[in-house]
């Protein structure tokens, strides 16, 4: 009897805690979304009625559109190159045993661990010296440095499920090592490749600090938002925030969908 009510109390507290957590995280985002559709110029209560005015305004703001295009280009480029580099790094680590292997893995894994401010300043100092400062490609290169390490982690995990036999079986059946790589290893890693593509895009799309340091006149969307905020309070920010939020969450959700695919369900070696 007593145990029952205790369990119920504990259960209630747990749910309350989780709910409070979600409210704490989600409420500010919800506020942004709600006020982006508010007819009022300043986010105040009561609500001034539904309006698409601010959304329309950002699509007419050339600087926002430019920033959005920059973000999209950088994000797409980052996704492509991080996935390629991440795959290469993961495959090297999976396939060969060599001296300095752990240092190699550490080298790939370290960039996200470095504070973005430090990384941004270092990049700025380095890139301005070699004359690459202030280009979208520069932002992309810096984002690749960070996102490639996530990509490698995801792809390496998947490669760990590829037994040694599968690739060797391909050689045994007449595939050259390169053909086996393209026809067996890459298809096997496909879910992880897709996941790392979208996650890398999301990492790049959200990244502010480095883009701000090295981008020069090329603003990405997060940089544009901050610059808007530094001026006067502008109701367009809520609208931009909503758009960014939707895109980021979509990217991450797509990535999640693929990273969660378990090998066991499709592997040939599954015990009967």
């Amino acid at each position: 009897m007593k145990r029952d009510s205790l369990t119920r109390l504990s259960r209630t507290l747990q749910y309350t805690w989780v709910l409070a957590l979600f409210v704490f995280i989600a409420a500010p985002m919800l506020v942004i979304i709600v006020f982006s559709f508010d007819a009022n110029r300043f986010p105040t209560i009561p609500w001034g009625g539904f309006s698409l005015e601010w959304h329309r305004a950002i699509f007419n703001d050339e600087m926002v559109i430019d920033a959005f295009v920059n973000s999209a280009v950088v994000g797409l480029g980052t996704a492509v190159f991080s996935t390629l580099l991440g795959f290469a790094a993961a495959y090297i680590d999976y396939r060969w045993r060599f001296r300095g292997q752990s240092s190699f893995v550490l080298l790939v894994a370290i960039p996200p661990a470095v504070p973005a401010t430090i990384l941004g300043m270092a990049m700025l100092a380095f890139l301005s010296r070699v004359g690459l400062f202030g280009r979208t490609e520069t932002i992309m290169a810096c984002h690749v440095a960070i996102a490639a390490s996530f990509a490698m982690a995801i792809i390496r995990l998947r490669l760990g499920e590829l037994g040694a036999d599968l690739e060797q079986a391909a050689w045994n059946l007449g595939a050259s090592p390169f053909t086996a790589l393209m026809r067996v290893v890459v298809p096997f890693c496909k879910p992880a490749l897709i996941a790392s593509f979208f996650l890398s895009a999301a990492v790049s799309f959200d990244e502010f600090m480095i883009a701000w340091f090295v981008g020069g006149v090329h603003e990405t969307l997060p940089v544009r938002i901050l610059n808007l905020l530094q001026g006067q309070v502008n109701p367009k920010i809520n609208a931009i925030g909503t758009v960014v939020l939707v895109i980021s969450i979509t990217l991450v959700l797509v990535a999640q969908r693929f990273v969660g695919v378990k090998a066991g369900r499709t592997a040939a070696t599954e015990p009967p």
Binding site: G163, D165, L166, Q168, A169, A170, W171, N172, L173, G174, A175, S176, P177, T179, A180, R183, V184, P187, F188, K190, A263, R265, T266, A267, A268, T269, E270, P271, P272
Partner: protein, 364 residues
């Protein structure tokens, strides 16, 4: 063998700090079904991988079809293998798995699909072509793996413990299937296994490997009846090994003194008195009687205690503990066991026809 199809000459394989294969010579005839057996770690799988080119020998030479395989990579050897793990491609359909080797040979899509379907049909998998590998049962996957290996019509098939993942019933069925395929295709099968029943049932010749070297090569019944050394005698679990010294040596027999007494064993050549000698008696050649009941006093005899019984189909293996904490294994039909009333703890006498004892040619 005048013209071996596969020839291994003084082949060695060393891995970092580990000598997996220490110099083996083996000729395999075209169309032969050869089984390589041995305990785990004896180098049998490594030998298969060396033939397939998945590992390069550290020393020695491998020739296939008269051609040296030195420097020829695995993908140019045409030595398909059936893997213990099956190694089917999980992201391809059944038909695409079977067609994979044809695709690697740049055979057109229509033709390779047709040939893949033919092989699926032949392996009793008609209608499974579009399935995913994960939707198949263990036995069906096994057939897909075999079809995939044979679809290019190779002249050799390598099998690495292919049936070890199947249950006993399926294993027997697949064994029959493999025997049929070998009969029909008349190509060389090199079959690595640790299961004696598979090797003895299927192979023309058996290679027993131990400790990285070949211990014995021969027809199954020869290896079974006439092991060349104690390793083989022990590995073929149905043998009972008795070790001792030569007491006396006659024209066609030696008398071996062991801890169980002195026994006469036939031999081709006389041995020196006092030299170490071992002989084996196959488990199905030993007769059992209740202890003390009259047997021919001229026959060799050892007394012991029944330790336990183990079912092997219609026969049972009787484990008998004899002096010196050693053990005899004797195969008996079920009805013999019943009529003798063999239960653990019962005292029995073991005896055999001396002609059925086999003296190991190499000292143990």
């Amino acid at each position: 063998m005048s013209d071996p199809f596969v020839s291994l000459q003084a082949v060695e394989k060393r891995f970092a700090g580990h000598h997996a294969v220490r110099g083996i010579n083996l000729d395999i005839a075209a169309g032969e079904f050869i089984a390589i057996m041995g305990p785990s770690g004896c180098g049998k799988s490594t030998t298969l991988r060396l033939i397939a080119g998945l590992d390069e020998p550290t020393a020695g030479e491998i020739r296939i079809g008269g051609q040296s395989m030195k420097g020829i990579p695995a993908y140019q050897r045409d030595t398909p293998m059936v893997w213990q793990s099956l190694a089917l491609f999980p992201f391809l359909s059944v038909a695409d798995n079977v067609a994979f080797p044809l695709r690697m040979k740049k055979i057109g899509a229509d033709s390779r699909r047709k040939r893949a379907l033919e092989w699926l049909d032949r392996m009793g998998l008609a209608g499974m072509a579009e399935r995913q590998v994960s939707q198949l049962s263990g036995g069906q996957r096994q057939r897909v793996a075999i079809a995939r290996a044979l679809v290019t019509e190779p002249s050799i098939l390598l099998l690495d413990e292919p049936l070890s993942a199947l249950d006993a019933h399926l294993r027997t069925r697949m064994q029959t299937e493999l025997a049929r395929l070998h009969r029909e295709l008349r190509i060389t099968f090199v079959y690595v296994t640790h299961a004696q029943s598979e090797a003895f049932a299927l192979a023309d010749r058996i290679v027993i490997m131990g400790d990285g070297v070949i211990q014995q090569v021969g027809k199954p019944q020869d290896v079974y009846r006439e092991p060349v050394n104690a390793f083989v005698a022990n590995f073929i679990g149905m043998n009972n090994l008795v070790s001792g010294q030569v007491l006396s040596s006659g024209a066609d027999y030696v008398e071996v003194l062991s801890s169980h007494g002195a026994f006469k064993v036939p031999t081709a050549q006389p041995l020196q008195t006092g030299a170490p000698a071992s002989f084996v008696v196959a488990g199905d050649r030993v007769s059992l009687t209740a202890e003390g009941t009259a047997t021919d006093p001229h026959l060799p005899r050892i007394d012991g205690t029944v330790l336990g019984l183990e079912f092997v189909g219609s026969t049972q293996t009787v484990f008998v503990e004899v002096a010196g904490a050693s053990e005899f294994r004797v195969q008996k039909q079920q009805h013999e066991i019943e009529s003798l009333g063999l239960v653990p703890g019962r005292r029995v006498s073991l005896s055999w026809d001396p002609r059925h004892a086999w003296l190991l040619p190499q000292a143990a």
